[in-house]
């Protein structure tokens, strides 16, 4: 995973286009994001089919209930192992810095969170220049991190329930579901901001080819953008 990742539409990365856009996510970051996203949705659908009769018919797409249970476990391993491995292989620096940033809230982040509801519903909130991840994104990161950890731990207990005391297994079910609800609510808001919200949906390109429009970077992540321009350090907490 080269830090200076220039894959994508090679023909278009002319000098003129380069001035218009800036690399936000490396290939490794994008890979982890999409492995997490795709496996999450597969796990969600197969899991909901077990949890609720309302979703049960969907399991026929996976070959029935018993096949869906196997798929749920196989995908769970990918969900956990592949993303965890990305913290150690390739170019893991950006993964660790994302993790670190999610746990460090500055005053600017808190101000962004204050303005977030207004922004979310199409208004314009005032907040200071933001880093690579703004306050709202950090909240989403935290929900994803804690959701993933708790859903993984409880899932292990449920999978190997014969090896754990019944009292612990009984608690694994509510924890597994609570994590699922938190992450599902978060991903709905996340997809809205990345795909539908007029002010922020340009950010999707950061997860497709890695680059976001300069205009977007300046208005949403000014502190990070200035750092990239002045020092070449593409990571700014």
């Amino acid at each position: 995973m080269a830090a200076e990742d220039r894959q994508g539409k090679g023909s278009k990365s002319s000098a003129a286009a380069e001035q218009d856009r800036v690399l936000r996510f490396t290939r490794g970051e994008r890979f982890s994001h999409w492995v997490h996203a795709i496996s999450f949705f597969l796990l969600l659908i197969t899991g909901l089919g077990i949890l609720s009769l309302w979703f049960r018919p969907v399991l026929s797409l996976f070959g029935g209930v018993q096949a869906a249970r196997v798929i749920h476990r196989v995908v769970a391993v990918i969900f956990v192992v592949v993303v965890a491995a990305m913290f150690f292989i390739g170019d893991p620096r950006y993964h660790w810095e994302w993790l670190k940033s999610a746990f460090s809230f500055s005053k600017a982040d808190r101000r962004h969170i204050g303005a977030f509801p207004k922004e979310f519903f199409g208004g314009h909130g005032e907040y200071p220049p933001q880093g690579k991840f703004n306050g709202g994104e950090k909240i989403n990161s935290l929900l994803t991190i804690f959701g993933s950890v708790f859903i993984t731990l409880s899932g292990i207990v449920m999978w190997f329930r014969g090896s754990f005391p019944p009292g612990l297994v009984r608690w694994a079910y509510p924890i597994h579901d609570l994590s699922m609800f938190v992450m599902t609510a978060a991903v709905i808001g996340h997809m809205y901001l990345g795909l539908l919200h007029p002010d922020s949906r340009a950010s999707i390109f950061g997860m497709l080819n890695g680059y976001v429009p300069v205009k977007f970077a300046q208005s949403h992540h000014a502190a990070w953008y200035n750092e990239v321009k002045s020092t070449g350090n593409r990571f700014h907490l």
Binding site: P166, F181, N209
Partner: protein
Amino acid sequence: MARKMIFADTSKCTGCKACTVACKEWNDLPAEKTHLIESYQTMKDFTPKTWTYVTFIELYRNKTMDFFMRKAQCFHCGDPACLKACTSKAISKSADGLVVIDQDKCIGCGYCAENCPFGVPKVDAVRKKAYKCTGCVDRVENGLTPACVQTCQPGALQYGEREALLAKAKERLNEVRRRYPRARLYGEQEMGGTTYVYLLLDAPEVYHLPQHPAVPVSLTLWQDVIRPVGTVAVGGAAAAVVVGVLGNLLRGGYRREGGPPDGGERRSAKGGKK
């Protein structure tokens, strides 16, 4: 139909195990190899082929030995934890109090098995279905008594109307207490009143039964709090997105934006500052 009850008077049980055999016969459950567990007990737990067995406990006190025998099977709770745990609506409770697993609806997830305070339902690893004593619902609904009750020679098992049989059980308890002062009824109140009510000769712990069986707090939290609240929260997030899209439409967010984003690959002539 008024609630029925099976009175299991352990003071009359001789440990003959005819109940196990009768159960197997009625339910078409084949015999299987047994092992001596302790005393005269030959089954350790329920299996797909054995839904009821007798537990034997020998207790030595004051130079005398007491046999504590108990026919184990599903209690058929008035407030069954298995039914609450089932996400497939495969478990139902009949009017006379029998808790039955519908084999067609069961997917073998094992939520019932994990949440039963008595550890009764098990998942058949081969068929991927949960199984347990049905209370011979197919006999009872046709005016017969459960097979185990039908066969019990010493009269340790009786079937009848709950009110009448409970009164009888209390009378019997008074008699038994002269010899076993710690004797008690088990299942009158427990788990919303169980259909199998036992006259135990000693404390439940002696029989390895829970002293205060209850629907697990984790199960109530899961089914009555997390699932409804979580559903509302996810619905709320979806509703917020709809409101957000409408808000942006009304405030002209999409017009200001100047068309769909292009990832900065093309220079757009016009476009809002934000």
